[in-house]
Symmetry: C2
Subunit: 327 residues, 2 copies
């Protein structure tokens, strides 16, 4: 009767473009996994429906009934009300005040937790990946914005109601570029994938990046992490300079955070880091070791994430389990 | 036989110029307190001796035997090895690798803990002062440098071996002034009491601060927090501008930390804040509320410390008690 015991965890990644549901056994081995498109434009009810059907399909693939689930963990875009389990606002999904925890608990009749996606991903790397078991982990995920997270003595550092660690909004240039948050000079405005792509598009327009011109033209939406990597490999020095400059700013901000939190491990993750890990890690290591205090850099590890797309589902499932342990 | 029970705590403040030993009862009411000069120039053995005699005198004043002590907590200048209880290096005292915890445990035959002085002071404000019971407290103490501390869910955020939260070494000006740490543009180099006093001395030299000229002349060592406050009150606009400008940088750095840690309470303390609390708190509040993310500033409290000179001894004693609870 093994399958009727509540001994499986479900980790869910609720992204702006794709959904992913993964079933784990009690040792957090992957049993089954399903993906689907998010299709946020189809409205809240449609996405909620698709979330539930993707979970059901993953359970089906694993040959399990919902009654086998010990709990569900979901990595979500924010801001969130963590305790109530409500997504307060998700611009990519057009969501306002969606009680995701309650919806899933009602449907699958097991406890559910929600977490910020970067928190979940960093927790995944802490439990199973590049930062396994570290006392203090700083996670940094440059993407459209720049997400940050800190796992301190096994727990996510959080705000009163939602997540915090907004490393993307550390000010790195007092009178810098305008950021999406309304401030000037935020790290995100100079070192996110989006900021890099915008600078790269301008370089193409100026005729400085012939390889990238061939690969993507001047369309920002076409200049993805992999495209940037290909352009650098093909000899676009202007693009390499843009990426290195952004990485130096990233490193400078990480140095400030290292001076505050003295992490044992800094994990850099996300598509940009996967595509350009040598360049990014090199520049960030140089900046951190050159700028942060010696006492904090002596034994620090600055490494690339290991779990890729699985980090969020693994972290979310582990958070569901940790939440059960605590209750 | 009350006095033979181990029901008293001793808090100690080991400063560069003065020592303070305070005896607390089990409810952390002050029973007795003694002060002495540090006299670091007289050597390690002499200071260790004076620390012990100051503690003995405080016990004597309270009419207690050492056997009444449940534990001793000491707020120290750093860097420290917290677990081993060793002061690794204290430039003001000329100390290297002094095993303070072991020395006190041997002498007074009770458990002792050491803590960074800013950590202890912030813990004091968290337990008994301006940040009583808050979920997450950020303490900021501008002095010769700028000390920072964070109490998160009742515990001090610390590094692997020593304290962290070096807010003074957040970079606020990419190509700024040289800092004592060897970097450029650290907060400390533009907003510490020392940085303010240096700018004020230059203003006196240029003839822009007649009141301060009368109070202190151009001697940096004479330009203390209270002197700055008096000069502003007497009409030295140049000095007020210098202080406000420094406070804006301080606020900007605090805004970055608020974006990371989302504290419920920010406590500003130390002599500079005591002397100039209106100016400093006003500028810091304006900067934080204008620059940090709305979600984190909505309910934030930015307040002056309440315990003054007692913060460190009270926090250190409470840490000794917390350490006993945990063991």
């Amino acid at each position: 009767m093994k399958n009727s015991q509540r001994s499986y965890w479900l980790g869910f990644d609720l992204g702006g473009t794709k959904l992913m549901a993964t079933v784990f056994d009690r040792d957090f081995r992957i049993v089954a996994s399903r993906r689907a498109k998010t299709k946020g434009a189809e409205g809240t009810a449609g996405v909620l429906e698709r979330i539930q059907s993707t979970i059901s399909e993953a359970l089906g693939e694993a040959g399990l009934e919902p009654s086998c689930l010990a709990g569900i963990g979901v990595g979500c875009p924010g801001p969130l009300d963590l305790d109530r389990g409500v997504i307060l606002h998700a611009p990519n999904l057009g969501w306002h005040n969606v009680p995701l925890k309650g919806t899933l608990e009602k449907k699958f009749k097991c406890p559910a937790v929600i977490a910020n996606d970067v928190d979940a991903g960093t927790f995944g790397e802490y439990r199973f990946g590049a930062a396994r078991g570290a006392r203090c982990v700083l996670g940094v995920f440059p993407g459209t914005g720049i997400g940050g997270a800190c796992i301190y003595e096994g727990k996510i550092i959080r705000g009163r109601t939602g997540s915090c660690m907004e490393i993307g909004h550390i000010r790195v240039q007092p009178e810098g570029r305008l950021c999406g948050c309304g401030q000037r000079g935020c790290l995100e405005s100079v070192a996110s994938r989006l900021a890099i792509s915008a600078e790269a598009a301008a370089a193409v327009y100026r005729g400085e990046a012939p390889a990238l011109r061939g690969l993507a033209g001047t369309d920002l939406a076409e200049i993805k992490s992999g495209t940037l990597a290909k352009a650098i490999k093909a000899g676009d020095l202007a693009i390499e300079i843009i990426v290195r400059n952004a990485a130096r700013h990233l490193g400078s901000a990480v140095a400030s955070v290292v001076n505050l939190l003295a992490p044992d491990v800094v994990v850099l993750g996300g598509g940009l880091v996967e595509a350009l890990s040598d360049v990014l890690l090199g520049e960030v290591r140089t900046a951190v070791c050159g700028q942060a205090m010696k006492a904090f850099t002596k034994d620090i590890k600055i490494v690339a994430a290991e779990l890729g797309d699985n980090a969020t589902v693994m972290g979310a499932a582990a958070l569901a389990a940790a939440s059960e342990d605590a209750s």
